[in-house]
Every structure is written in C-alpha cells, then in structure tokens.
Subunit: 344 residues, 2 copies
DNA sequence: GTCGGACTTTGAAATGTTTCAGAGAACGTG
DNA sequence: CACGTTCTCTGAAACATTTCAAAGTCCGAC
C-alpha cells in the first residue's frame, strides 16, 4: 500500500479502520474520541511509524509552531545566552526556535528575514545590525510579531527588550571612583552604536556629578568590540604618557575587557593594582578569566525570556500593546577591580 | 479582494492577468516565460507584497529547504564554531539551517529530533548525547540523511566527521615531554566519553613509547568538562604531595584548561613555569586567555562544513556511500607551555 | 416503543503551492 | 493556404493535513 512512502494520515486511517477525520481528532482533540478507537488509532500510528507532516499541518491550520531569533554575532557568547533564554520560553509554549546568525552583516540579516517570512514563523526576535533599517518596518507592516532584543528602535512601533545602558555606565564608573581611581578610560566603539553612546553617557554623567574633570575620563574608541580590539586598545593605553595614563578602564563589553586584560598581563602590568578593568555583559568567560573580571551584568537569559513572552503576546493576544522593557544592570565586583578579593 | 490575507499565487495571477501556472513558472523556471509577462508578474508580486508560502511549496514539492544541527552544549563555543561551518555550507547550497541545542540531555535531544522529523528537514547533523542511542538508528531506518559530528558511531550505518583523538592526545603529551616535563596530569572525564578515552589513550601511548613510567602520567578524572571542573581539578592537583605533583597538565578540552589556568594563577602559581597547561579544541577564548593557552586545534569550521557536505551528498546522491571522515588535529603552542614566547 | 439528547464518527472542502500534458498563437516553409 | 515547429501559457490534479456540518449510534426516560 505504501511503498517506501512515509505513511500519511490516510494510511493510518486505513490501517485502523477509521476515517481521516478520526485520526486527526486523535491527534488534535483526543477527548472527543472514544478510548477504544483512540487506542486502535494510536497502535496503528506506532506500527506504521507515522510522523505528522508539519508543512501540511501548517498550511491547513494557518499557524506555524516556530519562533525565530536572528542573532547579531555568533562569536559573542552573550547572544547565545540570550538565545538560551528564548529557547526556554519557547519550550514552555511548546514551540520550536529557529536560530539564525547575521554575523553583523545587513545583507545576511535580510536573507534570513526573508526566509523566515516564507516560513511564516509565528514571531521574530532580532538583535538587528541597524535598529533603524527599513526592512524591520516592513516586518511590522506585514503584521509579523517582532521584538527587538538588546537594542531599542527609535519609535514604539514594536516591542523591545534591553538594559538601561546609561545606568550601566554609571554604576561601572561609580565603582571605579569608589576604588579611588582618579583617571579612567572608556573603551568601546564605534560610537554610532546606541549602546556605546549610552554607556559612555552614563559614565560621563556620574563622573561629572562626582565633581571630576571631564579630562580625566578618556574615551578610547575602537572599531568593533572584539578581543582583538581590546588588545589594541591596551597598546594605545600603554602608549599614553604616564601622567595622563588612566589607572582604570571601563570596557563597553567583556570581549574588549578580556582582550585588554590579556594585553596588560602580557605587558607585565598587575591587574588591578596597575590597571583595574571593568567589563560589560558578564558573560561566563568573564568570571573564568585568569583575573576574574568585574563586569556590569545583564540578565542575559531573562532578556531572552522576556522577549519571547512579548512576541508570543503579540502573536496571540488581539489587544497587544507594544512595550519597551528595560532591565536594570547590576555590578558584579571581582578581582579585576578589587585587590585581594577572591570572589568568583 | 484579499482582505487582510497575505496574498497568494492566485492573487498575483489575477492581478497580473495570467494563470496560476505562469506565476509559478516565473518563480521556478523564469526562462520558459516571455520577458513581457515575466515583468508583469514580477510587478504584481512586488505591488501585492507577495511572499511564497514555504509550507505549501514543501508540501507539494516534497522537498524541504532546511538542514538541522542538534548541538550538544550551547555553553561551549566549540559547537558554535562547528555550527558556523555548517551554516556556511548551507548558505552555499541555498538552504536554511535550523540550530537546536540538546544541552546534553537525551530527552531534549529526542524532542528536537522528533520535531525535525515532522518538519521533514532535508538532513540532520548531530553531536549526540550518546552516539549509541537507539533513536539515532531510528533516523537512519527512516532514511533521513544523518551525519554525526565530533563523535563516531560504532558501526558504519551513517556518516561521521571527527578528529583523530588518539593522535590529539599523542601530540599534546609529546609537546609537554619535549618541554622537559617528567610528570604530567591528564584531566578530563567522564571517561565513558569516547573522546576522553581516546585522548587519554594517545597520551599513554606516546608516554610509554618515550620510555616514561605510567606512574608519571596521572589521570585526574572530572565529572564533566566545564570551567568549574577545571578549577576543582586544579585544587586537587594542588593537594597532591609535592613529590608526586605534575609540572604539566593536559586537559581534555579548553574549558577545563581555562578553569585550571584561573585556579592556578589565583593560587599564585606561575604558568608555565610552575605548571604548564595544554587544552584541546583551540576555541577563540584559548588564545584570548591572560596566559594564551596552548591547545590541540580541531578544524572546527571545517568539521562543520565537511559534515554538511556529507549530509547533502546523502540527501541528493542516489549512490551515496557512508564515510567516516577523520581530520588531523594540530598543536598550537602558546605561552601556557612555552616560557617567554608571545605567540598569540 | 418512541423520543430527546449525548456522545462518536464521517466525508468533503479548503489551505497555497508545483507539475505536466496539452491548448493556442505566431510564423516561416513548401 | 495547410503544415510543422517553436514558443507561451493554461487548467486541473496532487500534496497531507484540519475543520465542521451532518449523520449515526446508543441509552435512559417517559
């Protein structure tokens, strides 16, 4: 009857001696079918090794069972933690999660979005290359539930989930000031990145509100936020005349901080005595560094989980209101700023 | 005409004044339709904002346009690099890649596989929790193209891609011996993991072939292969009586090595002078460590790329033969074993 | 007995594509 | 002007599900 073909509902129905509709009922509302037939159908299903064809289901039912996350940079563990949070929420809602990676390339991002549209996914979470990109508006216009993660869009035409970056900058620099540092570097870039700008802004705010001179908060811009950029920032730092050289650095993410840490130790500096370092994100590897890294923690999994919940609300709740969630970052002090502490 | 509905081929056809079939032809074999109509149809498509419904396409065409990778442990960057390699190959073949994460839980793995089956993905790549699990046989029996990545299955009923772990163990320990170490620790576990066993075996082989006593190669088993396990191994190492204490450690992966490095430096040891450390995998963070880590490099992206090619071959080539690809690992010497070297 | 209701099951329609045999049109050739 | 070719286009069938109105069955109450 079925020669090699993978068995369909029809085959199951035939084998169990019932109609198509009944088999479908067994799968979708088992309570309406009598125990006797249900059993018979279930036996037939396992005997034939039946596996529901999700394409057909989706085509007819009109609703897909997957969410998607387009992450920005696969080499930064931060985004994997966010993805993990999304996955947990998706699992709770019994959905699959499609993870894509734009690798910071707008063109790649567009290709992914296009495919996801074709797939008719139930909702899209994204950390966009450029939050202002028109193809994101396009999505909203089409009515695809959309949540921007770890970024914010100018307008409130979609949900977003992020952390208060200004506050993050404040607490990082406040911590350094408390440790007695009088000259601090801010390392990060490009400053076209909203977050970099905001973290720097927070740093400057608290710095001046502590009565320090703006000249003592030195901005060392970087091209990107990788470990390599951190290393080269370290070299630039070392090249500064001793009088102007900061005794502490606040890096806009942990990758930079890790690079700076490596470069500094390699150059024979003691951390934190010669140079204190604060990172941002608090990825796993921050705590695992040779000198455990002080970092501004983002609730990474929570970010993802909350974003998933928003996208689900938009997908299922007819009177959904867009909202911009903002989490509060938190300083985790470790040995890279606090001498003789062994917090891990 | 279409009230709120997303437009279908039928709508495009109506709007362009052609038949369904012609619209389909424009999408799938543009060469058979005249330039004039093609243009007209294309205009209609953009005007209506038509997006092909992939479910319907797949249902009718019988073939899906996605591959899937079920990764073992999302917290280990190694697997993300593998995934990246797969993604590149998928991109070349114009396929989407579905990334799942079993988090080392067999139950989670099964859920994912089940969904992928329902999705009728074109092929599955997997780093399984247990390469001998019966649900993997199940897949082969169903005829789903399957490739096991970074593991090998006992029998040759499916393709696999891995690295020569015995050789990896040999070159790591050979390197340490060359550096003059007389007592070496092997850190890793559980040894039920095939790879751990093989790396240990390689270590032992070369050690004895160099005429050293088996007593001087100390096996420190761990519960898992995380940074935390590396730290606790470091504590156990420190607890050994000075006479028996190794001067070098070979860790079965980089996470362990990073943990060991952190613990050692925190305890005031100098690396490599007091303790030399070799890792395995050569993840990005190995090179980024405060003391850059010597590691046995696996060609991570290549692994993924090769696996993807195998799965595609199985999916498309009717006389596909299963093969077990084995890559050759390579030692990357850095400062954690070689004093006053600044290789990064 | 018959009726009404509760509980099951059925069969056909619908979903949005692709495919393919064949219908039409256009045109040069004999 | 009939014919064969070549180039385009069409229309219906097929894919595997879900849904839902309607048909059946059973059972206790009157």
């Amino acid at each position: 009857m079925l020669n090699g073909r993978t068995p369909s509902v029809k085959d199951v129905a035939a084998s169990a001696g019932v109609s198509l509709g009944t088999v479908s009922n067994v799968m979708n509302r088992p309570e309406v079918v009598s125990a006797r037939t249900r059993e018979r159908v279930e036996r037939a299903m396992t005997e034939l090794g039946f596996v529901r064809n999700e394409s057909a289901r989706q085509l007819r039912a009109g609703t897909s069972r997957t969410l998607a996350y387009v992450m920005l940079d696969g080499t930064n563990p931060f985004f994997h933690d966010v993805a993990q949070g999304i996955e947990l929420a998706a699992e709770d809602a019994d959905l699959s999660l499609f993870i894509c990676n734009s690798n910071s390339r707008a063109s790649r991002e567009e290709v992914h979005l296009d495919r996801l549209l074709q797939q008719r996914v139930q909702g899209i979470l994204i950390t966009p290359v450029d939050p202002a990109a028109p193809h994101l508006d396009e999505l909203s216009r089409r009515g695809v539930p959309l949540v921007v993660v770890d970024r914010v869009r100018g307008v409130d035409n979609c949900c977003s989930v992020a952390v208060d970056d200004v506050l993050g900058g404040r607490i990082a620099v406040e911590h350094l000031a408390e440790q007695g540092h009088e000259r601090v570097a801010f390392i990060g870039g490009p400053d076209s990145l909203g977050q970099v700008g905001e973290r720097l802004q927070g740093a400057r705010e608290i710095w001046s509100s502590l009565g320090r001179s703006p000249d003592d908060l030195i901005y060392l811009p970087t091209d990107a936020m990788t470990v390599a950029d951190g290393r080269s920032a370290g070299e630039r730092l070392a090249g500064l005349p001793a009088r102007r050289r900061p005794t502490a650095a606040f890096c806009a993410n942990d990758l930079l901080a890790l690079g700076l840490l490596q470069q500094s130790i390699g150059a024979g500096l003691r951390v934190p005595d010669d140079l204190a370092i604060v990172g941002f994100d608090d990825i796993e590897f921050a705590a695992a560094a040779a000198v455990p890294l002080t970092s501004v923690r983002q609730p990474r999994q929570e970010l993802g989980r909350a974003a998933a919940q928003l996208v689900l609300d938009e997908a299922t709740n007819p009177d959904h209101k867009h909202s911009q969630l903002q989490f509060t970052p938190e300083l985790v002090a470790r040995a890279s700023t606090v001498s003789r502490t062994r917090t891990v």
